[in-house]
Subunit: 200 residues, 2 copies
DNA sequence: TGCGTTCTAGTATGTATGTTCTAAAATGCG
DNA sequence: CGCATTTTAGAACATACATACTAGAACGCA
């Protein structure tokens, strides 16, 4: 019973993701968002509220499209393979990232999470979600013998989360294959289990 | 032969470090810098140039006071102990970081390095410096038998750098002791060497 | 066909931004 | 004691910012 939207909400969010992803929250202006999304400021404010709440929508949109998606795809694999494929994708994506945007979630962790309790909760929850995914992998892997039992599944999952963050940060400054794979190698070796070390 | 400065350059830099450290580059305004440093805008521009070049000085100042300092202190220790103490300090500092500022260098890696080639070089160089410190530790540790030889000293050093980044990022969103120590535990176990795994 | 509603377009609004200017104050050297 | 030089103080600058407003256009339903 009213005039219909002339824009596709998802397409606008995609464009907004691109802006915030590339520049970060503060450095992205509403004018740039308007230019990049192709809709007017009025439409943008009408549909998404102010800049901050648009960023919230953008973050959700990104997480759904990138993080949740990857987890879902990896969950289908056998546990240790899931972890390996997960990190292979991360390394590949990081090395192919010509404009060094990194991961919007990791960027948000330093950009917006420390100053904004609401966003901090969102980011923390997604990080927990990733940790839980890793935990499922390490637990299942230890159960079926493909992952070493020398450390608890919980500890391994936390370690994997930390290494993931490390790779994504370093890749934005030193996107060198040798470095990223070097970070990862000891972790993978540890999962595999050192020969003859079935824990005390 | 001219009017002397009324401010202490180092004190001003300390105050400026605090500003950029807390808010990041874009979110820190020159007015805030003026307020926090106590000198006028004219003095600030006269002494340090524009905002960007002040940030450069701030970064150097921080690196010298924090990073280089810590490396120097740890270099005096036996190699494996040096790594342990290094990370103990990082974890302790991260957990005591009430306003979640994290590490200015790591912040700069995501905040400023991806968009500014000059700053990228600076940040990358410091990261290399840290990696070199780790490398010296792993090499010496492998030589004196306190660090496992199942992986190369180079790979271990890269891994340590990655884990360091991971801890500093996660601490800003989830500053939980269990998490940070969980990230670290597998790495330390790996250095120590699994019992009976002296490589193939 | 007209009414109510929600959209778009573009401009206006006030504030905050980074930076520079004007003028006065403070030193060392002649 | 001035002259040259540099620092200060604070207002002034233009621009960029996030956001709100004013019109009018496009639809569904009566």
């Amino acid at each position: 019973m009213a005039r219909p939207r002339e824009f596709d909400e998802d397409a606008v969010l995609d464009a907004a993701v691109e802006c915030f992803w590339k520049r970060g929250y503060e450095a992205t202006s509403v004018r740039e968002l308007v230019a990049r999304t192709g809709i007017t400021a009025a439409s943008l404010y009408n549909a998404f509220g102010d800049k901050r709440s648009l960023y919230g929508r953008v973050l959700d949109h990104y997480v759904e499209a990138s993080v949740a998606n990857r987890i879902q795809r990896c969950e289908a694999l056998p546990p240790r393979r899931a972890i390996e494929v997960f990190f292979e994708e991360i390394v590949k994506r990081s090395l192919g990232d010509r404009d060094r945007k990194g991961c919007l979630l990791v960027n948000a962790a330093l950009d917006v999470a420390p100053h904004d309790p609401e966003f901090r909760k969102v980011v923390a929850a997604v990080l927990v979600q990733i940790e839980v995914f890793f935990l499922a992998c390490t637990r299942d892997g230890q159960a079926d013998g493909t992952i070493a039992c020398s450390l608890s599944a919980e500890t391994l999952a936390q370690h994997l989360l930390g290494v993931l963050m490390g790779i994504r940060v370093l890749a934005r400054v030193r996107p060198e294959r040798a470095l990223l794979e070097g970070i990862l190698a000891p972790t993978l070796a540890l999962l595999r289990g050192a020969p003859g070390s079935s824990g005390t």
